[in-house]
Amino acid sequence: MGWGLVSASLLVLAFLGYQLFITDLLNDRVQAEARAELDAELAERREALPEAAVATVELPEPEPEPAKPIPTTTTVPRADFQPESAGEEGSTLGRLTIPAIEVDEVMFAGVSTETLKMGPGHMPWTPVPGQPGNAVVSGHRTTYGRPFYDLDQLEPGDRIEVETAIGEHVFEIREIFVVKPTDVWVTEEKAGAWLTLTSCHPHFSAAERLIVQAELVRGPNFAYAQLLARQGLGDEKRT
């Protein structure tokens, strides 16, 4: 009985030590290596990017009013648009910085268990941060370097900076809330360009998800995203 309790206690201590310290050490090593190679990785991805395009946004047909003459020309808003897509699962995608909670992490493509052990991961079925639509990035809260440990300390108005191959994108937090792990609606399309961070909630539990949603306020595609937002369009209506 006594030895059983001692063994059980040692097992629990070993478990906590592994989860809270060993996984941090493993993550630190991966992050250090990824950070050292980040500039070279981004330069390589930049070379493979398509040329910046001037994109147009479809406007609804103007309805002629009987009292006014029908316009002879229609002005179509135009803005530079630089497309970018994520690489294969586990490849470096960019750098995620949240100054308010001192987060500075290399971000990877994909959200598999193995990828999230390396750092925050980008959901592959959502646009890359800085692209029109709703880019979703997930990260650990209490293990593997705990990049999103203090995510609940953020407030609306705080900035999130993301550096990808096409440049730096600055987002401003609009909403912070808690949902169930199955509430996939938080990953759905949004008008303009958004970044959604997801993490486990509360600390030391995967029962819920903490969601931080931020809107693009500066970056290579900001003007284009604004045009889309004005039209209530996200990624699906790009022309």
Partner: protein, 49 residues
């Protein structure tokens, strides 16, 4: 440990090998157990239907 050692068959070198095997298998099992239980603490925050 002494209890386990006395029950292992064969001469001392064979017992050492068997003990090593048991320890390695035990550590691997422990690793998978910790990984599984770690997912209950923090799954990475992914949203999925």
């Amino acid at each position: 440990m002494r209890w386990l050692w006395s029950r292992l068959p064969g001469p001392a070198p064979a017992k050492v090998l068997q003990m090593l095997l048991i320890v390695v298998v035990g550590l691997v099992a422990l690793f998978f157990l910790f990984e599984w239980a770690g997912g209950l603490l923090d799954s990475g925050g992914v949203i999925s239907g």
